[in-house]
């Protein structure tokens, strides 16, 4: 490739001065400029669009909060704790990776051994006052247990609201009704994933 055009740094020939009027200094001149700019035709062009739409009664905005826009599946709003489809039990295994990866240190998890010698999540909280909704927790979760939902209206008069595990966990009635919405973001199960599972020697 020929680099001649780039190597020539002397661009003085192609410079030209823009024709700019001098700024007015006299009060009279300033007044004249204001009048000139105000009653130019552009103003009426803009006003015409507004007036036309006003009388068409065809609104292009959403009348929030009565109406809401659909949001993308990868939108990162309030976290949700998912249940297993096959047993309705919680997916979270208490590995604590979300707590570890959380860059704003807002996740706290406590686990213990339950009466069946299984690991049980005894306490879980996300401090939404600190959360920056980066989505790392959902990304690191090995069980697709924590995901981001679409609940973005998290205004409250109490900081402590929406923090508890129970609030985030899919309610059982929703689960039995089969309406738990799967996360379609990073790490989500691809459709028909089960057909691609390979057998391990144990299954033979």
């Amino acid at each position: 490739m020929n680099n001649e055009a780039f190597n020539n740094r002397d661009v003085s020939d192609s410079y030209f001065l823009v024709d700019i009027e001098d700024y007015p200094t006299e009060p009279w001149d300033k007044f004249k400029r204001v009048i000139k700019r105000t009653f130019r035709i552009e103003l009426f062009v803009g006003l015409w669009v507004v007036i036309r739409e006003m009388f068409k009664f065809d609104l292009h905005t959403v009348s929030y909060p009565e109406e809401k826009m659909p949001i993308g599946p990868r939108y990162r709003a309030i976290h949700e704790m998912k249940r297993l489809w096959e047993s309705d039990t919680e997916r979270c295994i208490g590995c604590g990776l979300c707590e570890k990866i959380c860059i704003s240190n807002c996740i706290k998890i406590d686990t213990r051994i339950d009466e069946n010698s299984r690991k049980e999540v005894s306490d879980y909280s996300i401090n939404l006052g600190r959360c920056i909704f980066c989505g790392y927790c959902a990304e690191v979760c090995p069980e697709l247990a924590i995901t981001h939902g679409g609940r973005y209206e998290n205004a409250s008069d109490q900081r402590e609201h929406f923090l508890m595990y129970e609030d985030m966990l899919t309610p059982l009635d929703k689960m039995t009704a089969g309406t738990q919405v799967e996360f379609e973001g990073f790490g989500a199960i691809t459709p028909h994933e089960d057909e691609r599972v390979k057998k391990t020697p144990l299954a033979y």
Binding site: K100, T111, P142, P201, Y204
Partner: protein
């Protein structure tokens, strides 16, 4: 013949000492050979076969972990063939290994996980019918046989290092498991070393299980504060629950090279809680200013001891600490013969010894660190170990080669007999020789109950020994002839190859004895107690007038049994006042407590080193570089041996003040996991002599104390001495540990 062997690993010229294996040489030269079952502190068991290497001119693979090199051989550690061999081994390890990494306690620090990823085992071409394997609950330890990979590390550590010999492999091909040896359930000292060495999550602490993961915990390097061995450990802390109070979740050690006993591993929750109570603080300041003396325990850091010394100088008060004072007295008597301030042996020296004498201590409970060192010496060097004590110790029975049972109170005579035997051919001065010539060995032999043939047998078994250690326990410190015993011990050290280890009774007895000039305890009023009794008590235990932080909430240094100044760090926060605040209020200025570290006196061997420049970790080769070793200090040699008069006699019901396994002091008594059995334990013979039986409530009177206990018959004990725990009562440490006592049975109301 030269002692070094020159050979090549992967083309790099290396040098091996005689007796070293290819693996140890490779590791020392930073050449990587993967292993699964190898652990540096035990002898190689060769069960994993991961460490295979190729040697030029040798057919097949050889195990680098147990093969010593020959001169000029060429070793290759990594070829395609070896890689395949190792990958296949990893595949076999992974057969039916439960895929529960997400919940497993070991996940994140699991050897199997690491090596599976390292060898890229992504699919399985071996299979076996899985079996039902039930989780075993062994008290503080849970064992999941499904996760076990049968590397046998736990068995080897338990047998070769700890000496409990409590577990073994039940061989049965694919159904092999680890089982308790000769017992239904695990019956051991619960040191938890098997948990530490387990490369997978098969052996776990039952209390810790499923409460946290490796990646959630913060590690704080510290020193164990329960005995004077100064074991290195790491407190692992995390915010407990969602309300965020930091607490210690578990204790870990560098198991590759060091050991921990159960008290260190499971007894970590002795921290103190307090808030700033200003009125109590003002009262404490006033109490100190008006005090005639401060009585304190040795469960403090060097810095605290130094600040107490400053208070002594400022207010002209006395300092009472009988435990450290007696130790200091013993050591000064020792110095007056040996000319040195510090004893010569370390725990490492004990580990490498081929002969050892233990006298005046039930060492397995007084200082487990010494016990493990003795076990290591016995198993690895075949060391001859003579245990001289009035009571047999079942925990040491596999280690001790000769038991020398002497009468209670006759330690001076025993020491004279030992010294006489050991120094028979030594080049003693005329004065020293005449001391021995003047002794009436017939009388001493009769009173101590040690025959001449026992000494001869000992000398015979020691005849080939090169590295001998004499270990003196804390029975001796409070003996009324302690100084003479110290001089005899110094004499043995001076004229023979014996090195000497004098076991301090508490974590910082040695440090306090070097830092403070202590006064003889008097029963006076206006005594401020610092972690001890007094009219005003400043303590990290319960019932304190002012609460101060426990030793896991402080930074500072200790002096361990190895004469090593060890730094420890803050594991948990403390919100209340500290000694530093008190000292400041009394007008002595330090910016921080740890500023005292460099002020510690060079006359005692301390170096002028800032606390922050002290290291607190073991190197990758296992060298203990923590803190620094005290400088040797020369002392005047002006001691003279005292003639041995009459040896005391102890008749009737004698009790011995000694703690049960895993209990040491009021701090271990505070912990959640450690067993708290405070019953008086005695043999059937003792029971019939005291006219009590198993399970009786009894009242024991000794000295000026009367305590109530339950009596428990112990089959492992013999003779007429019962064991009295001291961790839950305040014991006068100036008294000899054997006590004539009056025991009365009390009926429960």
């Amino acid at each position: 013949m030269s002692k070094t062997i020159n050979f090549k690993i992967d083309g790099i010229s290396v040098e091996a000492q005689k007796g070293e294996t290819i693996l140890t040489v490779a590791r020392r030269n930073d050449i990587y050979i993967p292993t699964m079952c190898y652990i540096s502190k035990t002898s190689p068991c060769g069960s994993c076969r991961m460490c295979v290497v190729e040697a030029e001119g040798v057919d097949g693979y050889i195990l680098s972990c147990n093969t010593p090199p020959t001169e000029g051989i060429n070793i290759t550690t990594n070829t395609a063939g070896l890689e395949k061999e190792r990958t296949n081994i990893m595949k076999l390890y992974d057969v039916n290994h439960p895929l529960e990494c997400g919940v497993c306690d070991k996940s994140g620090e699991c050897d199997l996980q690491n090596k599976t990823l390292e060898f890229g085992v992504s699919q399985q071409n071996f299979s076996a019918r899985d079996q039902s394997r039930k989780i075993q609950k062994w008290g503080l330890i849970n064992y999941d046989p499904a996760l076990c990979i049968l590397c046998e590390k736990c068995v080897h550590v338990c047998n070769e290092v700890i000496g409990d010999d409590a577990i073994e492999v039940k061989f049965g091909g694919y159904s092999s498991t680890i089982i308790p040896k000769n017992s239904e359930t695990l019956d051991c000292t619960f040191c938890g070393e098997c948990i530490a060495v387990c490369p997978v999550g098969a052996l776990v602490s039952s209390d810790f299980q499923y409460t946290a993961n490796a990646w959630e915990l913060n590690r704080v390097p510290a020193v164990c504060v329960h005995c004077s061995a100064g074991c290195s450990l790491e407190y692992e802390t995390k915010d407990a629950g969602i309300h965020g109070e930091k607490s210690i979740y578990r204790v870990k050690n560098n198991f590759e090279f060091t050991n921990l006993c159960g008290a260190g591993r499971f007894g970590y929750d002795f921290n103190n809680k307090a808030t700033k109570d200003e009125s109590a603080f003002n009262k404490a300041v006033e109490a100190i200013q008006n005090a005639k003396a401060i009585r304190f325990s040795s469960m403090i850091t060097n810095e605290e001891a130094y600040m107490l010394g400053e208070l002594k100088n400022k207010f002209g008060m006395k300092l009472f600490n009988e435990d450290a004072r007696l130790y200091a007295e013993f050591m000064s008597a020792y110095s007056s013969i040996s000319g040195k301030k510090h004893h010569s042996a370390t725990l490492d020296a004990v580990k490498q010894a081929d002969a050892a004498i233990v006298i005046g201590s039930r060492i397995s409970t007084d200082n487990p660190g010494v016990r493990y060192a003795l076990t290591t010496a016995s198993r690895h060097n075949g060391a001859k170990i003579v245990y001289a004590h009035p009571i047999e110790d079942a925990l040491l029975q596999n280690v001790v080669t000769q038991l020398m049972k002497y009468e209670v109170g006759t330690e001076e005579g025993v020491m004279a007999l030992l010294a006489h035997g050991i120094l028979k051919d030594a080049d003693l001065s005329d004065e020293e020789r005449s001391f021995f010539n003047d002794l009436d060995f017939g009388y001493i032999g009769a009173e101590t109950n040690i025959g001449e043939e026992e000494i001869d047998q000992m000398m015979k078994s020691f005849s080939r020994s090169q590295k001998c250690v004499l270990i003196i326990g804390s029975d001796i410190m409070a003996h009324k002839c302690a100084t003479n015993i110290a001089k005899l011990a110094a004499l043995i050290e001076k004229y023979t190859t014996f090195s000497l280890l004098i076991v301090p009774s508490q974590v910082n007895t040695l440090g306090v004895s070097l830092i403070n000039s202590l006064d003889i305890d008097e029963d006076i009023i206006d005594v401020v107690g610092y972690n001890d009794n007094g009219n005003f008590v400043i303590s990290s235990l319960e019932y304190a007038n002012l609460s101060i932080p426990s030793l896991n909430q402080q930074e500072g240094t200790f002096v361990s049994i190895d004469n090593r100044v060890l730094p420890t760090n803050v594991a948990l926060d403390f919100d209340g006042y500290t000694l530093h605040d008190l000292v400041l209020a009394c007008g002595i200025e330090h910016e921080n407590t740890i500023d005292c570290t460099k002020e510690l006196s060079a006359n005692s061997g301390f170096k002028s080193v800032e606390f922050d420049s002290l290291e607190n970790f073991l190197s990758v080769y296992g060298d203990d570089d923590r803190g620094y070793i005290l400088d040797e200090v020369k002392c005047n040699i002006d001691g003279k041996l005292d003639f041995i008069d009459e040896l005391p006699e102890f008749n009737g019901t004698v009790i011995y003040n000694v703690n049960p396994v895993l209990q040491f002091n009021a701090y271990t008594n505070k912990t959640k996991q450690l067993e708290k059995d405070s019953s008086l334990r005695g043999s059937a013979q003792f029971a019939s002599a005291a006219r009590i039986s198993d399970g009786d409530s009894i009242e024991i009177t000794f000295g000026s104390q009367t305590i109530r206990r339950k009596f428990k018959l112990d089959e492992n004990l013999k003779g007429t001495i019962a064991l009295n725990p001291t961790y839950d009562i305040a014991v006068d440490s100036s008294r000899y540990r054997f006590e004539k006592s009056k025991i009365v049975r009390v009926t429960n109301e």
